[in-house]
């Protein structure tokens, strides 16, 4: 709890960063377009023209699909002239520009995954999420930067170069989907999709003052997502409001027969007794205080205490819960994800596509292509994964990590018996400085300590903008029960509507001058 007014001033919420587009959310974007009464083509042209100017200091965009976007906009304009107002029912995201992380396949686009080994590779098909957004009327306008093959927490490990945090250009935007978070914060497009393996959407969302949602594993099709950790990866959206996330999830969620791990059923999928509620009064928030006391920085801890006070004042019930197991989720996650990565990345051999280094024999060509094509962090994780899967060490490391994964699932199930949703800061600290963790992998991995546990057991988790300190944003994370995606998002909407969180405005108290 805070003791004096000077500390209270630490937790003023931020507005949009410099160079941000003037709209607040998807619905306000549509409103803005309607008021300007311009065609979709004119609007897309303006959006594309503004990309380089708004992104000039942050470098979040890696590719722009100018010709394809204009051509798509023209065909939608033609459709409007033929169908009139009927089209709104058919295409709920009509003419909305969308950005995608570079590991989501888009037909004929350079799906390079931030890696030299895929330089020049063009995807021969669309991912399911891309197909669904296209059917809904959205227009893909570009790719956003990412850590190579989604391995990293800082967006510093990309073959395209680093992406910077729009709130402090000397700090990281988080990762691995850092480019998507920056694009959302700057309003480069109202829809921005990333992928979340151990926090790759929620952590950059917290660092960049936007919303990021990781759905239940299997809720969104992974077909067309270049695999990093197949049992953990989940395509996840960024947005500038919780309502926007609901709109996007309604389009991209739901069963896909092309993904064997896809959950049968449509989105939204609210779990049993939780249902839909209109206020915070009946909602029980579980807080693992003992764990948080041990891992949080003072600024984040102070802001979170004020946030809890606000939620309690708004009628929410705060319950202390014990969740000691999640402290140990980090090693399990890094061993499992490295093991899966070493297996998934075996396909990049210079033979079928991507970079090929000339060499005397086939094997030396493969080794040389992989060595030159993969960056240092990817090579490190491949080596770790190869080691933990090797004979004699499988049971000691990988087997134990899998055992722990099962235990943490049981721990979450126990915790959710006492509360509707778990509440904790998304990250233990604010965005760190560029280069601060690059020489110390353990330090970099420890940034994910609060985002990894729900990923490990496939639970839905939403990061919402909570507060800021010294001009740097902080996020708070809501973790729901399995398949309670809709419920978690609706709590996000409630918190936003009642002023407890959001991209703009003040959370707790006015800043003292």
């Amino acid at each position: 709890m805070l003791s004096n007014e000077s500390e209270v001033s630490l937790v003023r919420r931020l507005g949009p960063p410099p160079h941000a587009a003037p709209y607040k959310s998807l619905s306000s974007y549509v409103q803005m377009v309607l008021e300007e009464a311009c065609s979709i083509e004119q609007n897309i042209s303006k959006t594309l023209a503004a990309l380089s100017e708004r992104d000039q200091y942050t470098s979040s965009i890696t590719a722009v699909f100018e010709n394809q976007a204009i051509s798509l906009a023209r065909s939608l304009d033609k459709e409007i002239s033929e169908l009139g107002s009927e089209i709104a029912r058919k295409r709920p995201l009509l003419g909305i520009p969308a950005l995608f992380k570079e590991n989501i396949a888009i037909l004929d686009a350079p799906t390079e995954c931030g890696s030299k080994i895929l330089k020049g590779y063009r995807s021969p098909y669309n991912a399911t999420v891309v197909e669904r957004l296209l059917n809904a009327g959205a227009i893909p306008i570009g790719y956003t930067n990412m850590d190579e093959f989604a391995m990293g927490s800082s967006c510093e490990y990309s073959a395209h170069g680093i992406t910077r945090n729009p709130y402090d250009l000397n700090r990281v935007p988080g990762g691995s989907s850092g480019g998507g978070a920056v694009a959302s914060a700057l309003g480069l497009a109202p829809i921005s999709l990333g992928s979340d393996t151990g926090g790759s959407v929620r952590q950059p969302a917290a660092y960049c003052n936007v919303y990021g949602f990781k759905p239940t594993y299997g809720c969104v099709s992974r077909f067309g997502l270049v695999a990093f950790g197949s049992s953990l990866d989940q395509i996840s959206p960024f947005a500038r409001s919780a309502k926007d996330l609901l709109s996007v999830m309604a389009v991209i969620g739901g069963h896909d027969k092309r993904d064997a791990t896809s959950i049968v059923g449509s989105f939204p999928s609210t779990t049993g007794r939780l249902g839909v509620r209109n206020d915070l009064r009946e909602i029980r928030f579980g807080v693992p205080r003992k764990l948080l006391d041990a891992v949080l920085d003072k600024d984040v801890n102070d802001a979170f205490a004020l946030f809890l006070d606000s939620v309690q004042a708004g009628g929410g019930e705060i319950k202390d819960i014990e969740l000691p197991e999640i402290e140990f989720a980090l090693p399990a996650y890094y061993l499992i994800s490295a093991a899966e990565a070493s297996s998934n990345l075996a396909r990049f051999d210079g033979l079928k596509y991507g970079l090929r280094q000339p060499a005397e024999s086939r094997d030396s060509m493969v080794r040389s292509s992989r060595t030159i094509g993969f960056g240092a962090e990817v090579r490190r994780r491949i080596c770790l994964g190869t080691f933990v899967l090797s004979s004699g060490y499988y049971d000691s490391y990988y087997g134990k990590a899998c055992a722990f994964r099962n235990m943490i699932a049981q721990a979450f199930a126990r915790a959710h018996m006492d509360c509707d949703v778990l509440l904790m800061p998304t990250t233990p600290s604010v965005a760190f400085e560029l280069g601060a963790s690059s020489s110390d992998p353990v330090r970099m991995y420890s940034n994910d300590i609060l985002t990894v546990p729900p990923s490990l057991v496939g639970l839905p988790a939403l990061s919402v903008p909570m507060a800021s300190t010294r001009g740097l944003p902080m996020g708070v994370q809501l973790i729901g029960r399995h398949r309670a995606d809709d419920f978690v998002l609706r709590i996000g909407v409630l918190l936003e509507e009642q002023g407890f969180c959001g991209v703009e405005g003040l959370v707790c108290k006015e800043e003292s001058h």
Partner: protein
């Protein structure tokens, strides 16, 4: 502190089809040692706590499918052309290519 030798990292990188320079092998060896040291509390976890993390023997006992899988007598990648290379790099006298030498405990 547990340390990897250069030879061990070379064997791991050969399995992963990577050519590492001596400097990088040393750095990765150091990084892996640090990572495993930071994660050593996994030793508290018992594999019997979870079916998913059960040992091979436990799997075999519990599942007829796995039993069939592990009972296969054929050698993985028997017909692959690079098997000879693997045997050359990982001679049977040193445990073969499926065995990575144990991590050595040393005082740093």
């Amino acid at each position: 502190m547990k340390l990897f030798t250069i030879e061990e990292i070379e064997q791991i990188s050969a399995l992963a089809m990577l050519d590492l320079s001596k400097d990088e092998a040393e750095r990765i060896g150091r990084d892996l040692s640090n990572i495993l040291k930071a994660f050593n509390f996994l030793e508290k976890v018992r594999q019997s706590d979870s079916y998913v993390g059960a040992t091979r023997q436990e799997f075999v006992a519990r599942s007829s499918n796995e039993n069939e899988a592990f009972a296969r007598s054929d050698i993985p990648c028997e017909n692959r052309s690079h098997l000879e290379d693997l045997h050359r790099v990982f001679p049977e006298s040193r445990g073969g290519f499926l065995v990575v030498p144990p991590v050595i405990d040393r005082d740093s």
